[in-house]
């Protein structure tokens, strides 16, 4: 029973990381209809930036904050320099460019920091929290709390502020947003910035568990895609619930299905993506694409 409970909690922590990267995917998708295939690689670069800042002498927490701010700016710049100019290009063009960006960022990381793995310290102490007979590592609990707080901040931004309302309006009906005086490009710029900052968070939380290396986000982005697909790809709540579900299912299957084990766990993600698209293409929370005439 304790094993089961701790698998669930570990799954939630993994799931929180998937959720933040899935949210990054959903944010850019909702605002511009484009799936940013390079999101994981951008997150990887954000984690490397933390390592680099620390190598230059910055303590961990300030390094993390600087990296998140820089990532926000980089995401906004990506929108302004590549995505916006391509807004009238065909989908295939945009996808090709973003996959090209994926490869370019991956090589860039290898070029700057080499392919040897580097340790990135965890944000959380190596302690265990004891609740009666149940113990959970500070890292697991910390990840859940940090992602939870970030989600709360996002919720407050979108539900209680004017700019949050304008961002939702610009993403949902850009033509009408212009007619109430909202600058749609600025809102999309902020959206892509937030996406990159969320991606950075996922990269910074993952790196201490898998060590820094240019391919460290490969697995995570697949799980994030599974989470976003399961949630419905255009739903913020869906991305969070999808992320947590994927994390828990992945852990339970890895523990209790002997022939899958840790090595084949990634199959779970692919099965979830395939199954969702087959059975309920709009996901758990996605909007049905209905055109009213």
């Amino acid at each position: 029973m304790t094993l089961f409970a701790s698998q669930i909690v570990d799954g939630l922590a993994d799931g929180a990381i998937y959720a933040s990267l899935a949210l990054a995917l959903v944010f850019s998708y909702r605002s511009t209809g484009i799936v940013n295939f390079a999101q994981g690689e951008m997150a990887m670069l954000s984690a490397y930036l933390v390592w680099q800042l620390m190598a230059w002498g910055l303590p961990l927490i300030p390094a993390v904050l600087v990296s998140i701010v820089v990532s926000f700016i980089a995401g906004a710049l990506l929108y302004a320099s590549i995505v916006k100019p391509l807004s009238h290009a065909s989908l295939l063009t945009v996808v090709s460019v973003l996959i090209g960006l994926y490869l370019a960022l991956n090589s860039l990381a290898g070029f700057i920091w080499t392919y040897t793995i580097k340790p990135l310290p965890s944000l959380f102490p190596k302690a265990h929290l004891q609740f009666g007979s149940f113990s959970v590592s500070a890292e697991t609990a910390g990840i859940i709390v940090v992602v939870g707080l970030v989600l709360l901040l996002l919720y407050l931004l979108f539900e209680t502020t004017k700019v949050g309302l304008a961002m939702r309006g610009a993403a949902s009906t850009p033509d009408s947003a212009v007619l109430v005086g909202v600058s749609v490009p600025v809102m999309l710029l902020i959206g892509w910035g937030i996406a990159a900052a969320l991606g950075a968070l996922s990269g910074i939380l993952v790196a201490p568990r898998v060590f820094l290396n240019p391919t460290m986000m490969f697995g995570v982005i697949i799980y994030a895609f599974a989470a976003a697909t399961l949630g419905g790809f255009d739903s913020i709540v869906g991305a969070v619930v999808g992320g947590l579900l994927v994390g828990v299912v992945e852990n339970l299957v890895g523990t209790y299905v002997p022939w899958i084990g840790p090595d084949l766990k990634i199959i779970v993600a692919l099965v979830l993506i395939f199954g969702t698209l087959l059975i309920k293409p709009d996901g758990l929370f996605g909007r049905k694409k209905v055109v009213r005439l």
């Binding site: 004017k162 309302l165 304008a166 939702r168 309006g169 949902s172 009906t173 033509d175 009408s176 947003a177 212009v178 007619l179 109430v180 005086g181 909202v182 600058s183 909007r287």
Partner: protein
């Protein structure tokens, strides 16, 4: 001086020009209606004014040239456009739609205006937390108009507010528009196919044909004009 003056306005889509040398004046506190068949250029005319398509010529609004301003700047100058098909934010709630309409206004103005306009559209106040996409066609049109009024515009552009609505609903809507004009002194330019109801509340009107204004008169004379009656009012 007219609130809005159009001189030699040409506009269209890509290579196809739709409007040819339009001259139009809208007087302050008046309701002017633009009649015309499908494809005559009515929607294009409103889009040219609100800057949502490229246009050539001179557009003066309140003494200021606006023909080179972006759509967003024209909104800020005080022209609210209710597009055809209403253009509400379907994913947002009714209340959020209304608040977003006041994006350029202060919080105090928003609270004040929200109360004021909801008295004209009581149905909306019962549905504030509903998603706009779940409203009926008539309610969505009311919401689109309320959202536009929240901007505190000096000119309201309405593109076929009757589209898809039952005649009885359209009639109520036009009465409310007339009441809003009385109370707030709002100037309106309304594009309509359902001409008889529009002419009842309008002061003046023009008839648009193939991108040109072929007739301009008071609403009363237009409603009595044989040709207008035959073509746009459906009388033989």
């Amino acid at each position: 001086m007219s609130l809005l003056s159009l001189r030699q306005i040409r506009a269209g889509y890509d290579a196809r020009s739709v409007l040819h040398d339009i001259e139009l004046d809208v007087e302050e506190r008046q309701i002017q209606v633009v009649l015309g068949a499908n494809g005559a250029g009515k929607t294009t005319l409103l889009r040219a004014i609100s800057g949502t398509i490229a246009r050539q010529g001179t557009i003066m609004f309140g003494g200021m040239p606006i023909d080179r301003l972006s759509a967003r700047k024209i909104v800020a100058a005080g022209i609210a456009h209710v597009p055809q098909g209403r253009g509400t934010f379907a994913d947002l709630t009714v209340d959020e739609n209304i608040r977003l309409g006041a994006y350029l206004r202060t919080a105090a103005e928003t609270r004040q205006d929200r109360e004021r306009w909801l008295t004209f559209f009581p149905r909306l106040s019962e549905r504030l937390s509903q998603q706009a996409g779940s409203l009926s066609g008539g309610e969505q049109q009311m919401l689109a108009i309320t959202r536009a009024l929240m901007l505190r515009p000096r000119l309201l552009l309405l593109d076929e507010p009757s589209l898809g609505l039952a005649p009885i609903i359209t009639q109520g809507l036009f009465r409310t528009l007339a009441a809003i004009r009385e109370e707030a002194g709002m100037t309106m330019l309304i594009v309509e196919q359902s001409a008889n109801l529009a002419l009842e509340v309008a002061d003046s009107g023009v008839v648009l044909e193939s991108g040109q204004i072929v007739l301009r008169d008071s609403a009363q004379s237009l409603a009595g004009n044989d040709e207008v009656r035959r073509i746009y009012l459906g009388y033989e």
